[in-house]
């Protein structure tokens, strides 16, 4: 019996000692950390994708708390995350839209002129350093750097043209950052489908025609027909997404119809019409049991 008491006593003494020392240390060595940083960090999805423009989620958290950056920059977390962050910081959130990448090129292999046999590293960034891989020096090269940059399997090369799968895309912007020709931009999707300009060639119509069958020739038809919504700058239409109103698209639709090269397109998630079209296809009959995971992002890796 005495040994039980003794053991208990020793443990108690040890525990008191340690608790006291740690308590003392906690006070003496206390470092002020803004609790909001940790709260923000916890609310972020932790994908560390860099879509916000910061190196990782932790750095973004610090920037948000410091007020250097609005809380709605996390595209992976989306709206719910932004709301949560706004709640933590006690700020109100401006209306924001999901940003999604748009490929400003519409030429498939068969549309491109002046394509040559290219030997060398098969990637866009390197091929972009070699003149004459294809005639157009602005358009998509189709080697798929964006495909390998995408962590979400949301972009693919379809017949030589990068094509976004908006069902899978989370809008992290990795593709836009890696594209050596900067033909991918992040566009605020105010509706499921947006009008975008699918050409990037700044040259005059004649020069464009020499390199591409479908390139924008800078004819300004859109400028004339859309009531000034489009403005042609450097032989390409530019549209102001701030003024874009998804509920009032009549003038834009007119411009889209009038475009001789059909370079103004509605792009985005499949519409109900598209879904209607695929309705008759066979639905997957195998349903896998889908257990929710219990493994979260704790640091207990060792």
């Amino acid at each position: 019996m005495s040994i039980i008491l003794l053991a208990g006593a020793i443990m108690l003494v040890l525990a008191i000692l340690m608790a006291w020392v740690l308590g003392w240390a906690n006070k003496t060595f206390h470092v002020e950390v803004d609790p909001r940083v940790e709260a923000v960090n916890a609310a972020l999805p932790g994908a560390n994708c860099g879509g916000c423009g910061y190196v990782g989620c932790a750095e973004y958290a610090e920037a948000v708390v410091a007020g250097a950056c609005p809380p709605d920059k996390c595209t992976v977390g989306g709206e719910s995350c932004a709301k949560e962050l706004a709640g933590i910081l006690g700020v109100s959130l401006e209306q924001s839209w999901p940003f999604r990448p748009v490929i400003h090129c519409g030429a498939h292999y068969s549309d491109r002129l002046g394509r040559t046999d290219y030997k060398g590293e098969q990637s866009c960034t390197t091929a972009n350093l070699v003149a004459g891989v294809q005639g157009c020096t602005y358009g998509c090269l189709g080697f798929g750097d964006c495909v390998s940059a995408c962590d979400f399997d949301a972009i693919h090369i379809v017949d030589g043209l990068a094509t976004v799968d908006y069902e899978k895309c989370v809008g992290c912007g990795a593709c836009a950052r890696i594209c050596p020709r900067n033909i991918i931009t992040m566009v605020p999707f105010k509706s499921r489908q947006m009008v975008v300009v699918t050409c990037s060639n700044n040259d005059m119509g004649k020069d464009v025609k020499a390199v591409c069958k479908v390139g924008c020739i800078g004819c300004k038809a859109c400028e004339r027909n859309s009531g000034g919504f489009f403005r042609v700058d450097k032989n390409l239409p530019v549209l102001d997404y701030d003024k874009y109103d998804p509920d009032n698209l009549d003038s834009i639709r007119l411009a889209v119809d009038k475009c001789p090269m059909k370079r103004l397109l509605f792009i985005g998630w499949p519409t109900e019409k598209d879904l209607e079209a695929t309705k008759d296809m066979e639905a997957p009959d195998l349903v896998e049991a889908d257990f929710k995971t219990t493994v979260d992002q704790t640091d207990w890796q060792g």
Binding site: L5, L6, A7, G8, A9, L12, I16, A19, W20, L22
Partner: protein, 183 residues
Amino acid sequence: MKDNYLKQAWLVLLLALCFGGVLAGVEHSLKGRIDENKKADTLGQIPNLVPGAVSASFSNGVYRAVTQNGDHAGWVLLVTGQGFADKVELLLGLNADASQITGVYILDQKETPGLGNKIVEDEWRAQFAGKSTQQPLEIVKRKAEKDNEIEAVTGATISSETVKDMVNRAAADFRRQLASGGF
């Protein structure tokens, strides 16, 4: 202030106290059995190491093996040494005047499996029984011919040498101490 830290940690303190007690309780109820296990581990081998012995008493670092009727039958030494890979622990049985080896038992070893670890095999160990401690044993790679020769385990000369060295040295030391009246 001090109270404050302790107040925060009351659960830890309580658990520490309880766990300490519980563990001591467990130990109390199992200690006997564990100690017996430990003893049996060594003592169980005594009859094999010293012919005729049934039990032994431990004092001064050696086991004094006795026969059924309490006669002194021999000694058992616990010897450790560095083997090829790691420590080798063996029991060395000697007769009453330590002039003869009566048996060797390997308690623990981590020699190369399939090679060095053959030193645990009865056949090999049996070579030691009956050897005299008057002159140091030798390891040979062929069939043992002379009295003081032990045939090495094939391909494991170092492990064999280890055991031989341990036996030689322990026996010599023990003889000297026995002679100086140590026991």
